[in-house]
């Protein structure tokens, strides 16, 4: 339905909904449940140069309306992903967001160059915000100059648009966003998980084997909304908003905050049908809100109000 269409650099989406990286495997797992072509796009699990096992288990712990994870970027390596995982998704009408990670700038560039050459990949998502690996990930995402330098190098080797996935674990996220925009980023994904910890009362030890993990789920939604509201006013490149999205109303809220598309993460684990359900509920919600096209909502919370105010 045209009413839900949104366009972002490299991503022509029939609706603004995509599963978030790390929460959708490589698509296979959900393909048995519904037709993946209903999705606006899909972000697949992070790729690194070599295969990674990730962190020891337990890797997940529940929190109030959220969960901590410390998977540690487990993946079969970029070559395997391109050869064995991506072909499976070919039969679906589905733009692919390929999340890439690394330990060094060279790693990122190698993965970016390979991944962006794959005909099925629409855009790259530069993962500089994984809080669960010692090397790489978040160390690139907490210093604006480092993030900008990496973005620039990856842009130079990528033949596809590059989105930078920002970490909320910084003092000034707008500064990070501006830095990557100036370095040539085509878009921003935000937010990744918030660094957290839980301790088991019986053992008196952290529940996660990695001790700390990334907090996701409905619990972090207000943080994501605040940050997207702030960043979307500071940069002119589009934002894929994420962080606790679990219903159609949340999608509207993220878009009003300034997101041009919305990724659903942890909610896929609560209900594997959440993405198609949200997509089917959006038209009715827009009808109720008297909105003729979903893109009218983008940044609606801070843009000059075009709708007559109800209260005055």
């Amino acid at each position: 339905m045209k009413r839900l269409e949104v366009s972002l650099p490299g991503l022509k989406m029939k609706n603004p909904i995509m599963p978030a990286s790390g929460c959708f495997g490589f698509g296979r797992e959900y393909a048995g449940l519904y037709d993946l072509s209903v999705l606006g796009a899909a972000a697949i699990k992070a790729a690194t140069v070599e295969a990674r096992f990730g962190n020891p288990t337990p890797r997940v712990a529940e929190t109030h309306s959220g969960m901590l994870n410390a998977i540690g970027l487990q993946n079969p390596g970029v070559d395997q992903i391109m050869e064995k995982e991506l072909p499976f998704l070919k039969s679906y009408d589905l733009p692919i967001v390929a999340n890439i990670a690394g330990s060094t700038e060279e790693d990122y560039c190698e993965v970016a160059e390979k991944m962006s050459s794959h005909p099925q990949v629409s855009v790259l998502e530069l993962n500089i915000s994984c809080p669960n690996v010692k090397e790489g990930g978040i160390q690139f995402g907490t210093d604006a100059r480092t993030a900008a330098a990496l973005t620039k190098r990856v842009k130079a080797v990528s033949s596809k648009p590059v989105y930078v996935k920002l970490s909320p674990n910084v003092a000034n996220i707008a500064e990070m966003a501006i830095a990557v925009e100036e370095a040539g980023a085509d878009g921003i994904s935000m937010i990744n998980t918030l660094l957290g910890m839980r301790i088991d009362l019986k053992t008196r030890k952290p529940i996660l084997a990695n001790k700390t993990g990334g907090l996701s789920g409905p619990a972090i939604k207000p943080v994501a909304i605040r940050m997207i509201h702030e960043v979307s006013q500071a940069v002119s490149i589009p934002i894929i908003g994420m962080g606790g999205v679990s219903c159609a109303e949340d999608v509207i809220e993220f878009m009003l905050a300034g997101a041009s598309a919305v990724a659903v993460g942890t909610a896929n684990f609560v209900d594997p049908f959440i993405c198609p359900d949200i997509i089917s509920q959006l038209p009715e919600l827009l009808e109720k809100m008297n909105v003729s096209h979903i893109r009218e909502l983008i940044g609606g919370s801070w843009r000059e109000c075009e709708v007559p105010s109800l209260s005055r």
Binding site: G25, R52, F53, T57, R59, E62, Q74, A219, F269, P272
Partner: protein, 257 residues
């Protein structure tokens, strides 16, 4: 695999903190492989957030009834234990791969070893094996007699032994003590229980050939989140299997316990 709102038929506490929950729904028609599990959402809110993996204990295809046994431990299972007859439960399943049933032929003997809340999936397995003319010997391990359940039901299907850590019922000690003391002979071993028990079986019954069902903390239950991975014996350090979607049942020796 389907998601369905199934209806609670009955719920009762059958041992200390152990509940027997029966639900009815069309999805039950698909539950033909013992060792598979279901993923249950215990609330409509996000507290707690994640679904609970619960094994399939028994299935009556005619009445489309699924029996689940679970231990009330945390907030999730406490909420589940409050579900009353007629209430609906959001169930996803059946998930994972169950115990192979074609490894034995008529007249051969299967040894089923269950520990605690690992016992339930073995009941459906025992029934299936019996219906194929395979002899079933069961060894069930519990902390104490108060924690024990279903030993009579297993006894209806073949020889059944119980071990308790405190000796209040059956043999005092562990399941491995029963296997040694009773000098049990069998063709294939099937086991489900805590990893320490599986490890003990692997070490102390070295000739064991068969299948283990593993437990691991899960996120999604369908293989998407990579929370419940295990290393593969003899594989590369980066090789893995996912307990939820590659398992939970694996040939003995395939994964690192």
């Amino acid at each position: 695999m389907k998601k369905e709102l199934v209806e609670v038929v009955s719920q009762k506490e059958i041992a200390r903190h152990i509940f027997e929950l029966k639900v009815q729904g069309n999805v039950v028609n698909e539950m033909t492989s013992p060792g598979q599990f279901v993923h249950i959402r215990v609330t409509d809110t996000f507290q707690p957030l994640l679904r609970r993996p619960i094994s399939i204990c028994d299935v009556d295809l005619e009445s489309r009834t699924l029996t689940m046994l679970y231990r009330k431990e945390g907030t999730g299972t406490a909420l589940l234990s409050q579900k009353k007859e007629g209430e609906k439960i959001d169930l996803l399943g059946p998930l994972g791969n169950g115990f192979p049933l074609d490894e034995l032929s008529q007249g051969q003997t299967a040894l089923l070893v269950g520990g605690g809340i690992g016992v339930p999936p073995l009941y459906y397995l025992a029934k299936k094996l019996c219906s194929q003319g395979i002899n079933v010997i069961s060894v069930l391990g519990f902390q104490s007699g108060d924690d024990g359940f279903y030993s009579e039901k297993f006894a209806e299907l073949g020889e059944a032994y119980v071990s308790t850590v405190d000796g209040s019922q059956g043999t005092k000690g562990f399941v491995t003590d029963v296997i040694k003391n009773k000098d049990l002979h069998y063709d294939l071993l099937y086991s489900c229980g805590p990893t320490v028990m599986l490890k003990a079986l692997e070490l102390q019954v070295p000739a064991a050939n068969g299948f283990f069902s593993l437990e691991e903390r899960m996120g999604c239950g369908i293989g998407a989140c990579f929370a419940c991975v295990c290393h593969v014996n003899g594989g590369l350090p980066s090789d893995y299997v996912k307990v939820c979607s590659d398992g939970p049942v694996f040939p003995i020796g395939e994964v690192v316990l």
